[in-house]
Symmetry: D2
Subunit: 489 residues, 4 copies
């Protein structure tokens, strides 16, 4: 089934992309307005589309789902008036595990289901690794799927649960689901938050006036003036109601936690708090570790904007080499061009970045970037820097080589498209044509995020599958599709 939307947001097309941000509010006037603001603050987690469902005692459930940015869709009086009530949840999405190529509006979350005991809406961040099998089973039993999204399985599992209330049906459903998931859901009176037993994706609790908020990140609590209370724990389900407040359950079998280390490196916003510390400081630390591990003589430390900035500052502070903005980003390049002419398509990275020629000329430049995925952008940036007359170009990367795809809710290219899957560090240096190229070590990264002794090889403290190939959950659907896991060592 198709639609005619242009493919969404190829901006930063050489980055891994978080697939989703989720947000919910209970117990305030105009809850949907708060959700819209929260989603705006989480827009970096998904730019393709967004949706909000609200509930009002008189008006019942209402929803709006749109392609495009939150600020363009969920801010007008006209739209927001259609979403009344003190309870609302929302979702911004990037894509992948859904329709190939193009997304239909029916793939945009939250999903809604009418059960015998009332309706429920659900928004999901993560990826279900046994979705194909679940979907087949559900269709055989007579479920009709509205969308091509794997997340819809959850609502069908809930519809078929034998439990009598919605939170218990959700427990039932999530126990059948494998993979990574943070979920924000709502019934007519309850706001529900769940993290999978490994806690791969983030989810935090906030207090806003007399009400409560759930959010992927703390930066979205800030925008609505909510106080950050705590992170939802791995394997925890919180059921929040105006009557009983926050009730906590642990419906899953306990497992060692495996939070996604890439949230620290790139996905989360620098002003969010993870593990009690600002993400910005962690990234500055990564830059400092990188400067210790891989020093080099140079005139300037320049970030690849904007994501390389905190690590570049850290590198400069540690090395004493002056920090400078050698590459300037065009701030009007938020989205890509629609149906571009051939000549524009060929411009590539020049449309969003320009080298500060007069500054760079004759200088030895350290470029700090957060990651190398396909390497296509890195190559173009190097060319621009050399064209501008730089004497030397040294790349320093604030993450280890990305050699394995993520199956837990992040959009990664196939393995053979990952530069680090097919080349050694030296080969990559030659391929990119730079004077030096160094990645932070896996241990260095663990130290930077606060693990003083580095990575625990026996039981790593984080999910680092994209670097290590060690997947904490077997990606069953992908193995069916032919993916070959790393041989145990």
């Amino acid at each position: 089934m198709s639609n005619l939307m242009p493919p969404a947001h190829p901006f930063d097309d050489d980055k891994l992309k978080e697939e989703c941000g989720i947000f919910g509010v209970l117990g305030t006037k105009e809850a949907a307005n708060f959700v819209a603001l929260g989603l705006h603050a989480l827009q970096h987690r998904g730019q393709e589309a967004g949706g909000i469902v609200s509930h009002d005692p008189e008006m019942g459930f209402n929803s709006a789902r749109r392609f495009g940015y939150v600020r363009d869709n969920f801010t007008s009086q006209k739209v927001m008036e259609t979403l009344p009530g003190p309870l609302a949840i929302g979702h911004v999405r990037y894509s992948t595990a859904g329709s190939k190529g193009q997304t239909a509006i029916r793939d945009v979350q939250p999903f809604f289901g009418e059960f015998a005991m009332g309706g429920a809406a659900i928004a999901h961040n993560g990826n279900i690794t046994n979705a194909n099998a679940l979907r087949r089973e559900l269709i055989e039993r007579g479920s009709i799927f509205q969308s091509s999204s794997d997340s819809e399985c959850i609502i069908h599992l809930m519809a078929r649960s034998l439990q009598r209330n919605i939170p218990e049906r959700m427990e039932d459903a999530l126990r059948r689901v494998e993979g990574a998931f943070s979920v924000v859901a709502m019934t007519r009176t309850k706001l529900i938050g769940v993290r999978d037993p490994l806690g791969v994706r983030p989810l935090v609790l906030g207090k806003v006036g007399d009400g409560w908020a759930l959010s992927s990140e703390t930066c979205a609590l800030d925008i609505i003036g909510a106080e950050f209370v705590r992170e939802i724990e791995p394997g925890e389900m919180v059921v929040i109601s105006e009557k009983y407040g926050v009730q906590s359950h642990f419906p899953f079998r306990r497992q060692p936690s495996k939070f996604c280390i890439f949230e620290h490196v790139y996905f989360s916003r620098p002003d969010s708090i993870l593990g009690g510390r600002s993400v910005y400081e962690t990234r500055e630390n990564i830059g400092r570790e990188l400067a210790k591990e891989s020093p080099v003589e140079a005139d300037l430390v320049c970030p690849v904007p904007d994501s390389g900035t905190p690590a570049a500052i850290g590198f400069s502070l540690e090395s004493g080499i002056p920090y400078a903005m050698g590459i300037i980003r065009n701030q009007y390049m938020g989205r890509t061009f629609i149906e571009p002419t051939e000549s524009i398509r060929n411009m590539g990275v020049r449309l969003k970045l320009n080298v500060n020629r007069a500054l760079i000329k004759g200088k030895r430049v350290i470029l700090v970037d957060d990651s190398v995925v396909r390497g296509t952008t890195s190559r173009k940036i190097k060319e621009m820097i050399l064209d501008a007359g730089a004497a030397e170009v040294h790349f320093r990367i604030a993450s280890p080589p990305t050699a394995w795809p993520c199956f837990y809710g992040v959009d990664t290219p196939d393995r053979d498209k990952l530069l680090a899957a097919t080349m050694s560090e030296e080969e990559m240096r030659d391929h990119l044509g730079v004077d030096s190229l160094k990645f932070i070590s896996l241990d260095g990264l663990y130290r930077a995020v606060g693990e003083a002794k580095g990575r625990d090889k026996a039981c790593p403290q984080y999910c680092d599958a994209c670097f290590s190939g060690e997947y904490p959950v077997i990606p069953a659907d992908k193995i069916d599709d032919g993916f070959v896991m790393k041989a145990a060592e």
Copy 2:
């Protein structure tokens, strides 16, 4: 669940409105193009929205659903390219049995379901009178409804059928359904047509080149150059494939047929063929009967445009009183104004009709209209005619008094809004303020449609519930909602 579409098509807001038109094609190149043309010819049966699903062996199922006219949505290269393949079905809808007030795009048919043995799409014209009960039952068993449309029940019943192929699942599903339905459906290789056992709604079969077409009316066969083969019989299911051609089944218990007599009066296009005769001629006959039953001396016979035209011609031919266009319709008034200013809202019927003042002045005028529903338009037209200086105004109505709502796929006001439900013919004449008002008798109408002996009181040859209050299928949902049937005499 809401959306933000403007309320649809209030043009002719004092008419009964057919809810749907359906069309399907198998075995031609670009089947979806033919379906678009067919739906364009059936646009009078539903103007709010339309949808097409096609299937191509390589591209699978594709669909497009849009608010607005077929000509504005399903004619561009860009849209039609997304609907490839030799098999397609489509639907135009008016509304009612769906979301209150506003329709969401997800209520627009055809509905699609993926079953274990493959996908199927279905388009429905009619109304399911036990939909509430079916829906409750299906939700209790774990079905999740995508829409607020009753027609979706059919696809969920199919999903749960124990039969192994789709046509048999459809038989299974339709045996649970009460009410009026003509259905056009498709699998990957088959085009399917069904009429309910009473045959309330029309459905015809056509031959187009080497392929086949199913349509609500013959006028839509004409537009694609298809030959009219025959009507699908009441209670018949035809399963059409390229391999086996047309196969006919009769899955339901046999009942006396009850075709909707109002299709003759108003719904069907005058150039369609019903019962072997052009609808136009039937309407001319109604006018002749009316002239015989209720003659009056006058100078001119004028139709209320456009639906009163054939009966007015018949009245003129029978009475010898000259036919004239005393009321002119503004041809640019296809749809109503969106968000109109107050002063425009008050213009009412003047925006679409104007009296031919110089012609009418001083004349005794017979106005022929097809029906009187609320009577609001009739009153305004009478005022315009008198303002223009007519000496006398005589209304002649080409149908009996409409005193009962339809529950079989037609949008009628509640009973207390029907003028004829609360007033006698004399009271209506006084209410409208005309010199005389006469409706055709029920027997006269039966004679005009070809029943020489008039209506068979014991077992009427048509469904005439809107005139007689005798409902051939018990409207179970409506009775639950408080509707009181006419006491048996």
Copy 3:
């Protein structure tokens, strides 16, 4: 200079097309609302675009100009609020004398100019036959044209006039203009109407409450409830103000009037009054004359909808052959398809017309149409009628052969595209492939419009150049472009 609008309104592409309708109101609340309604009633005179300028003592001049129908653009509260004040004029346009192929929004009237003594807006129906020369002269003097419309000359001539008030500047300007023009204009306090000395295009005066209206036709007075006062006379200028009421001037040299006879045949709406009689009755008369001039034995008289209807009724009344709707028009075909697929482009007339097959079969049919221009539609209609099994087809045309282009504000094909310019009546009959083809005679047409003695050959009472080739104003620009006039006899 280009824009990207789709080509406008090819519906009825085998008709002559009036280019413009004009309307103005002074002395009412919300004058722009009345203008919008008036333009809606004049939409048949121009469907491509429309514009309104209003003036409010506090808010000054405001304007809105849009492509598309009046009802889609000038009815929402949001737009109409931007057009406050008691004085407004408006314009609907078809096109031609402007940008080739595509029209830019800047070509949409009314045109506005700021003069030293205040602003003025002007709307023009007609065509300036010396526009090229005027434009050249004005550019040489330093005028900068905003549009490619010839009508803009008028406002530049006004800007350069040595007169001190706007009505006198307009007189000055119009004395330089050759051709056909009816003009509605406004200053801050005055509503102005002018007809050229020949009175080729219509313009009427109405009274609405305490205010006044000017309109191309009386049907637009009806819609706002205005009383028809009188026609503006050929060569008359009326200057209307709240203070002095209607003041009449005759600034031009007196000439015999030459009203466009085709307004009676096709352009004006049947419910408008021209020469004291309804246009409908005139057309019925034409049908009667035609029946007298060219009788034929047949079973049915059918109009080519909708413009052939009144003449067909007249033909039926005179001949006694029953009138019937043998061809049905699809009422949802108001505009053409945008970017149509190839297969739809080939459908042609079938998209808007369908033959009433069951009625026509085996019958001898008289088809009455208003005119034959290129003949392309007539041919297709004949084919449809024969396909449906008609025994004989006789064409009767309610105007003489159209053999010459109009240069006075009507969109006609080049002369070599006019069927009657290259063929005799017999050749046309053979070309169309019908059993007989007869046009009304020029004398018959004059009789039908009320000239009992027929056409005055020495000094025809109407402009009938499209039939006779006798042009009352030399088309100077066209002769420059190579047009050859008929040799004097």
Copy 4:
């Protein structure tokens, strides 16, 4: 005259805003594509609307003008195909000197005029200080203005010039114009660039392949791969043709140059080159000067993003206090919300900025911003920083107090809205509620831009009227409107 566009771009509503960017290309294939790219790189100079005119020997002049960003309007194949040819110019605009409040599309440049010797298009950056008088004079002579833009005067003056070719007519016209202007214009074969005698606004010349480019800034040469040749000199007119290359004229009386010093502070992009040095370095210098002039003990130096960044880096480098991103900008906040709900309107700066709470807490923070205009944003940022628990807040501003409005092409509030016009530095510190507030001195700013001896009081090297109140051109229109100049000392 009105239109219905939403008010444009209130993002950064507490900044001075450059009004325009201009760009032109001659002698390349698809010149309009290059112009689109150049305008995209100049988008920071004007976000409200943009326009391009191109000329092709066969297709003549074509234009497209649109509201919104370049990337959303001038990148699709469909639009760019309408702008063929080897010669094109373009314009992006912010607004002010045009329609009050809302801009109509007819106010969007380039302006086009057809003269007796051919057409010309013109794009203007700056402001004409005697526009009112010129406009009055032109209207009295019979010119009709298309727009409310002052820049249109130039084209009408050209239309009335007695000179025989377009470049000479432009000289004639510009000699009548007072104020600041950089102009890019084109005829059928020539690309023309002019700067006013004071050289207030920038304009640079580039070489692209065999062709030439003119641009407001060098950053737009970079994006099309053009080589920066030189700045156009104050008072210079260059006429560029394929035949004769670049020909330079000096049509105006020589005056000491007065380049806008605020281009260094804020308007120009940091990667542009001004006076032989990158703007980025100049701004870093300003930060260094500021650290020398107004040191303070603190823990962190943080920029107010994004414009305060280079000066903050300079301040950190000079002071040795670590640089950190204490305030994070939401990168999805490119434009403001359309028709925002009340609650969103109240969010203000929070929608685009968030404090890095975990980083700031308990720290003494130096905030570096480029300027203080109304002071509203500064106050909100201070509150956010204190809410986040900062121990001290010290503001350092990279420009002197902005106490006077600009009349040379920059959008500034009225004088009484400028914080520095009504308060001393101490009063501003108290008003903003910060621990300290220091602006760079005027001499310090001159040193930072490269004038080692500081400002020449007798004849300042730059236009610094916004700081000093010393206007190099008398703002005649403004004085007519009541503006009072600073008394000579």
